[in-house]
Symmetry: C2
């Protein structure tokens, strides 16, 4: 992938994909985003879906990251165990066609009492380091459907912990006893912060979520404020996990600004200094660094 014409990198997730054409200097010269996530592609349809990307961005070598490498994706790219650096990712690529199409492996963590996995975020993380957006020793929060708290030392991902905050919130909005009170929007104000503090207290989420409903029924929380309170509860519990892992000093929050803003507001309330950075830019930098690391 060292050609003068550059290459294509795709962040191919469960429900959408973002494809970037990156030139030989590492600059993104063209890109698109669509809803052709892994779940929308039939098991035998990935070659055609990849050809479609080339038809739109150029007939170039291609690196594919994210859920496209999972059991539901094109080819399962086995996880690389942490601690892992960019070279380990490059060595662990699963080649669909040598020199032309590769899938980036995800990362795994296994300890005596838990396990964890990541697919896609690792490219952003290494990219943020490679491009100087964050130091090589950093503590990163990566919100999304599944938030990741990531410990990076000297450019290597040492460990991480996933909290399924985003998925839980969207699930509660769509199914069960809380749905009718969660239709509004989330605002990082008073009710959100009250939820954050409650979530951070270590209280049991399955009890606190029901209490939120009771507080609405009994008039302690206005229905319009319930989404903010419940989002705060979940993000507060999530932040509790992060604070338990955080070294001294600041945390980096990387991802879409809507989510990073909520996490930043929660972190500010408990005096955790944070820096927000954009995930898309980091992905391009990570894919470029990875392409250059291929032996």
């Amino acid at each position: 992938m060292h050609g003068a014409d550059g290459f294509i990198a795709v962040d191919w997730g469960t429900t959408n994909r973002r494809a970037y054409r990156i030139d030989s200097e590492g600059t993104c010269v063209s890109s698109f985003e669509d809803q052709s996530g892994v779940l929308s592609v039939p098991a035998d349809g990935f070659a055609a879906a990849a050809a479609d990307v080339r038809a739109r961005l150029g007939d170039l070598p291609m690196l594919l990251a994210g859920m496209v490498g999972s059991t539901r994706g094109w080819v399962e790219a086995p996880y690389v165990a942490c601690p892992a650096g960019l070279d380990d990712l490059a060595a662990g690529l699963s080649w669909i066609e040598p020199g032309r199409t590769a899938i980036v492996p995800g990362l795994s963590v296994v300890t005596d009492d838990r396990a964890d996995v990541m697919r896609g975020e690792e490219v952003q993380l290494f990219g943020a380091i490679a491009s100087g957006l964050i130091p090589g020793t950093s503590f990163v929060c990566h919100p999304g459907t599944h938030n990741k708290w990531v410990t990076i030392v000297d450019g290597r991902i040492i460990s991480f912990r996933t909290v399924m905050t985003g998925e839980m919130f969207s699930t509660l909005r769509e199914r069960g006893i809380l749905t009718e009170m969660l239709t509004g929007s989330v605002v990082p104000g008073e009710h959100f912060i009250r939820g954050v503090r409650r979530g951070l207290s270590g209280a049991t989420l399955t009890a606190e979520l029901f209490s939120a409903r009771a507080q609405v029924l009994l008039g302690q929380i206005e229905r319009d404020c319930a989404p903010s309170y419940v989002s705060g509860l979940l993000i507060g519990a999530d932040l509790g996990v992060g604070l338990g892992l955080a070294p001294d000093g600041e945390a980096v929050i990387m991802g879409d600004s809507e989510l990073t803003g909520l996490y930043a507001a929660a972190a500010a309330d408990c005096a955790l200094p944070v820096v927000e950075i954009d995930g898309g830019q980091a992905f391009v930098a990570g894919a470029f660094a990875l392409a250059r690391s291929i032996p």
Copy 2:
């Protein structure tokens, strides 16, 4: 409801209803259960649904308990605040037709930092006391869609705490990243107990649930054992709430035997002595005691 022919009591929940004809001695002489829960009855259809019960069990006075008294039910019966005794329930009945059809109020708890509500379980609780199934001073676990931990002193419900364990488990089975690994059955064996211990440790559920998935992906948990582990996690977290409220001595577990068995297995692992009792029998006794308390 003191007539020689007795009366009808209905435990009318969200998804089903159980109706009992009770004679003047308090004995259930006829009953049925069907799927005509509150959600299946149109807003203007409750009079007809009640007439259907009388058509099947007799043209008698009727006490209705459970979600039929909620905002989604026939008539909203305002909550009675705890501490509350059987007399408070009787005084708080919402009469649809005086002397003939009444809705039993639910109970509420409000403190500085939380709120809670109950509808239906209160009849079983007072019934268990009235019939001598449990002492007037008891600590009761009432598993179901929404488990309740209830503190009863001298025949009055002092306080309670709801944990939405059952709803969370069924939600995770139906929607989201864990669904495919939760299709099997729950067995209260080794994997269940490992989950219970993890849940009891105070670990954050949204992190532990994702870790369960990662443990399956990485081969640490057999897929067939995942439902037991995840059920254990949720019941362990629930039990942690209960242990935080439990006085010395034993807890009563009241409800359906499938669920009470899981809670009893979890309690046994942490040396909480428990007694299991049947909820249906307690409901009949509670409705009879309530009918006799009507001024």
